[in-house]
C-alpha cells in the first residue's frame, strides 16, 4: 500500500488521525446509506417489473383492439373519430425524497369530459369503444409505471455513486491513511530512540570525564 507523501511530523500525524476518524465515520454512514438505498430500490424494482408486465399486456391488447377497429371502419372515419379528444390531462409533479434522492411523483387531473369516447356512436364500431375503454382503464397504471421507472433509474444511479464512494473509502482512503499514520509513528519513535541513545551516550561520556578528573 502506498503511503501519502507527507512530512513525518507530529502535526501531520495529528492531522492525519483526524482525517482517519472522519473517513471511518463517513465510510460507516455511506455504507448504511447504501444498504438502505438498496432495500428501497429492490422494493421499487420488484413493483416496477410487476407493473410493467401488467401494463404491457394491457397495452398490447388495447392496440390489438384499435387494429381490429381500424380494420372494421373506413380509415377516414377511424381517424376522424379519434381526432378531437374530449378530455385533456394535466400532470402534477411533486418530489418525494427517498434517502436524499429526489424522485418525481405524478398525479394527474383530467378536465371534466362527460364521456371518454370522443365521437358519436352512429358511425363507429363497437370494437373502437372497447379499445378506447381499455386504454383509459390502464391510464392510472401507466402513470404509476412512469413514476416507478423513473424512481428506479434515479435510485440506481445514486446507489452506483454511493457504492463507488464506499469502496474508495474502504479500499483506498482508509488503508492509505492508516499506513501513513503507521509510517509517521514509526519514524517519530525511531527519532525518539535515537535521541535517547544519544543522551545516554552523552551522559556516559560526561560521567567518564568526571571520573578521569578526580
Amino acid at each position: 500500500m502506498t503511503t501519502l507523501n507527507v512530512n513525518p511530523t507530529r502535526m501531520e500525524l495529528k492531522r492525519l488521525k483526524t482525517r482517519l476518524t472522519t473517513a471511518r465515520r463517513g465510510h460507516k454512514l455511506l455504507k448504511d446509506k447504501r444498504d438502505e438505498l438498496m432495500k428501497r430500490f429492490l422494493d421499487i424494482v420488484r413493483e416496477n417489473l410487476e407493473l410493467r408486465r401488467e401494463v404491457e399486456e394491457a397495452l398490447v391488447s388495447a392496440n390489438r383492439g384499435f387494429a381490429v377497429a381500424s380494420a372494421v371502419m373506413s380509415p377516414e372515419m377511424f381517424e376522424q373519430s379519434l381526432m378531437c379528444p374530449t378530455k385533456s390531462v394535466e400532470l402534477d409533479v411533486s418530489y418525494q425524497n427517498i434517502m436524499s434522492v429526489d424522485v418525481p411523483k405524478f398525479s394527474f387531473s383530467e378536465s371534466d369530459g362527460h364521456t371518454i369516447y370522443p365521437y358519436g356512436y352512429a358511425m363507429t364500431s363497437g370494437e373502437l369503444d372497447d379499445a378506447v375503454d381499455r386504454l383509459s382503464d390502464i391510464m392510472p397504471r401507466l402513470l404509476r409505471l412512469a413514476e416507478m421507472e423513473k424512481s428506479a433509474q434515479l435510485l440506481a444511479q445514486e446507489i452506483e455513486k454511493t457504492r463507488r464512494r464506499v469502496n474508495a473509502l474502504e479500499y483506498v482512503m482508509i488503508p492509505q491513511l492508516s499506513e501513513t499514520i503507521r509510517m509517521i509513528t514509526m519514524k517519530l519513535d525511531e527519532n525518539e530512540r535515537g535521541n535517547l541513545t544519544r543522551l545516554m551516550k552523552v551522559k556516559d561520556m560526561m560521567i567518564k570525564e568526571q571520573l578521569q578528573k578526580k
Partner: protein
C-alpha cells in the same frame, strides 16, 4: 407541488392514435431522425412524462439515455402496434444491474 406539466406519446402514427383519446399529446415520428428531433423538442418544452414506443426507442437509444439521470422528463417505453419487444423490461433489468452489480431478479 407544481402543476401544468404535460404528457406526450411519441411513436409511429398507428401506434399512438389511440392515446389521443386519453388527452395525451401525441407526436408522430416515423423514422429515426424525426424521433430524435421530436424527443429533444418534447424534453425542452417541459413535458414531464414521455411515452415512446419500443419500435422507435430501439433506434434512438442514445438519445433516450441522455435523460436517464435527470428527474424530468421520465421517458417510458411502451409496446407499439406490433407488440412488445421486451426492451422496456430490459431497461428495468439494466437498472438492477447498474445498482446491484448483477441482475438478481432475472
Amino acid at each position: 407541488m407544481s402543476s401544468g406539466y404535460k404528457l406526450a406519446v411519441l411513436g409511429d402514427r398507428e401506434s399512438i392514435l389511440g392515446y389521443r383519446t386519453l388527452g395525451f399529446h401525441v407526436r408522430e415520428a416515423e423514422n429515426e431522425a424525426d424521433g430524435r428531433r421530436e424527443l429533444s423538442d418534447l424534453a425542452k418544452e417541459g413535458y414531464a412524462v414521455i411515452y415512446v414506443t419500443e419500435q422507435l426507442a430501439c433506434r434512438i437509444e442514445d438519445e433516450i439515455a441522455k435523460y436517464k439521470d435527470s428527474p424530468l422528463p421520465a421517458i417510458i417505453l411502451i409496446p407499439g402496434k406490433t407488440g412488445s419487444l421486451g426492451i422496456g423490461m430490459k431497461g428495468v433489468h439494466s437498472a438492477v444491474e447498474r445498482a446491484v452489480g448483477a441482475d438478481i431478479l432475472a
